[in-house]
């Protein structure tokens, strides 16, 4: 099975990675699962199948997926413009992309709420169209897109910068139109990075707390997200119930991440 490894450093790098991963991520998460494991399967089912939990799960995962999709489309556009074109203000634009990372999520939540609230800068125009910005599932979507969008840009950007134009030139020489080149040459090369970007934006959105609680309105069954339910359980000193919801949430997100990574590996295999 094991073929001879040509490039050195496998043992060291993998050993370090696994040790560090275990100490920082796995052992703490194990503590969570042990806590949640104190309850039997019936209890797990009772907690996780509560209508409020299901409604919150639907909103959390649905809004996160939608936000990640939009992030990919907008992110690809922005990255393309940043990498390929030269225009005044490009550097500033580039700098601004990181803003959602640097802005504390609570501040982001407060500002987004004030902008998209029915009396806010944008919210008032949305209201004309009968769309409620803040305090609705749409508000949750806005906050999650804000949070997830830089992930796509920052994952795709280095790859795109690295892409070079030789292949495109070759394709153009062979008579391919610009759109064909984009779809046939550029997009496939970017696909792994795009998928990574989507995964990151999606995963980050699922767990987001700080910004969403300000803009969502937190109405049970309507605009309540899973992390808030966890906090609500903690406030009642129900560590176990909180741990069960957290563990359930983790397992679903982990399964999703795992699937996406498998998919990506398939893509890379085909490329080679």
């Amino acid at each position: 099975m094991s073929k001879h490894r040509v490039i050195p450093g496998f043992g060291l790098s993998l050993g370090f990675t696994v040790t560090y991963l275990s100490l920082i991520i796995l052992i703490p998460l194990a503590a969570l699962f042990v806590k949640a494991g104190g309850l039997g399967p019936a209890e797990w089912w009772r907690i996780l199948s509560a209508p409020r939990v299901l409604a919150a799960a639907k909103l959390t995962f649905g809004a996160s997926a939608a936000a990640a999709m939009v992030s990919v489309v907008v992110g690809l556009l922005v990255t393309w413009v940043l990498v390929r074109y030269r225009f005044p203000g490009r550097r500033l634009l580039d700098a601004m992309v990181d803003l959602p990372f640097a802005l504390p999520t609570a501040v982001a939540g407060i500002t987004l709420t004030s902008i998209y609230a029915p009396n806010g800068w944008i919210g008032q125009y949305l209201a004309v169209w009968g769309i409620q910005g803040a305090y609705s599932p749409f508000g949750v979507f806005i906050a999650l897109t804000f949070i997830g969008f830089p992930f796509v840009v920052r994952t795709v950007q280095p790859v795109m910068e690295d892409l070079g134009t030789e292949l495109e030139e070759a394709a153009a020489t062979l008579g391919a139109g610009r759109l064909t080149v984009f779809c046939r040459v550029i997009l496939p090369a970017l696909l792994p990075a795009l998928i990574t970007g989507f995964t990151l934006a999606f995963a980050r959105a699922i767990g987001e707390y700080g910004s969403v609680i300000f803009i969502s309105g937190n109405l049970p069954m309507k605009t309540e997200i899973l992390p808030l339910l966890i906090v609500a359980q903690l406030e009642q000193y129900k560590y176990r119930d909180a741990a069960v919801i957290a563990a359930g949430m983790l397992m679903v997100s982990f399964a999703l991440l795992f699937l996406i990574n498998l998919l990506q590996r398939q893509l890379n295999w085909h490329k080679r």
Binding site: G9, I25, T111, L112, V159, T199, R204, L250, L257, F258
Partner: protein
């Protein structure tokens, strides 16, 4: 006349795309940033400056910098090791490892704080032992650092992996054939190839470390001037109806993003000049 380069679009398409990107970014990013500054300066520059130099703000800045100074290097070393293991080698469980690296993204910050409480809190696994030895982790600096490390864990690794994947192993394989040692190969070939990705990763990691709110909020004792990081200090000010002061401190973090990117462009330009000078 050769009307346009074969690798770019026609001018109208180009400007349309730029326009769309600008519109999206202004609605999404510029407007919130603007709102922060408008709020910060609403009560004049005196209030703005006073908020930034108050002792509790300075202590919050110090704490935030300390936490970032520990967690960013840690996660950078990890990111390099993980990316090397994952992209330069094929092994069983690679997809699993990749997913595990992503996992902290999907862990709600609330949970990221909670797990440390479950481990080191007074009623946690190590709680009684720590109490016997009078060691404080939760509600003190170590807890804040641990929470920050957890939350910013994947940033560098996740930045490097797709980049190194796209680059492939050809150059490294050539180096091995020529008899280069692992370290030489890393320093001379891999590092120069990935330096921008690495820098992006470090910047992201740093920005996120400084802006983290949810997880830190769980493990900090919220003691004014002692265990409040900058984002927590902002929350305190906001809750005390000092909106202008709160947003003044928020501008610090907004400026941080702009500053780090300014640095990045400077480094970029410097290296370009060096490179073109040599050739």
């Amino acid at each position: 006349m050769h009307h346009r380069s074969s690798t770019t679009e026609s001018a109208p398409v180009r400007w349309l795309l730029i326009g769309l990107a600008l519109l999206a970014l202004s609605l999404f990013l510029l407007l919130p940033l603007l709102a922060v500054f408008v709020e910060a300066l609403r009560r004049g520059t005196d209030v703005f400056c006073a908020a930034l130099v108050s002792p509790s703000a300075l202590s919050a800045v110090r704490l935030t910098l300390t936490a970032a100074a520990v967690s960013v290097p840690l996660n950078t070393v990890f990111g390099l090791a993980a990316a090397w293991a994952v992209t330069k080698h094929q092994f069983r469980g690679r997809a699993l490892l990749l997913s595990l690296i992503d996992l902290p993204f999907a862990v709600s910050p609330v949970i990221a704080g909670l797990v440390w409480v479950l481990l080191f809190g007074a009623k946690g696994w190590f709680g009684p032992w720590l109490a016997d030895h009078d060691i404080r982790i939760i509600f003190e600096l170590p807890g804040i650092i641990l929470a920050t490390v957890f939350v910013t864990f994947p940033f560098v690794a996740r930045e490097l992996i797709p980049l190194m994947e796209a680059q492939g192993n050809d150059q490294e394989l050539a180096a091995v054939t020529l008899g280069a040692s692992g370290w030489q190969m890393f320093r001379r070939i891999t590092l120069p190839n990935i330096k921008w990705g690495l820098l992006y990763g470090v910047l992201l990691c740093n920005a996120r470390a400084m802006g983290e709110f949810g997880a830190v909020s769980v493990v900090s004792g919220h003691i004014r001037g002692k265990t409040n990081t900058l984002p927590l200090h902002i929350e305190v000010l906001y809750n005390e109806y000092q909106f202008s002061a709160a947003f003044a401190c928020a501008t610090l973090l907004g400026l941080l993003a702009l500053l780090t990117l300014g640095l990045k462009s400077a480094v970029e330009q410097f290296t370009h000049q060096r490179a073109s000078g040599r050739i």
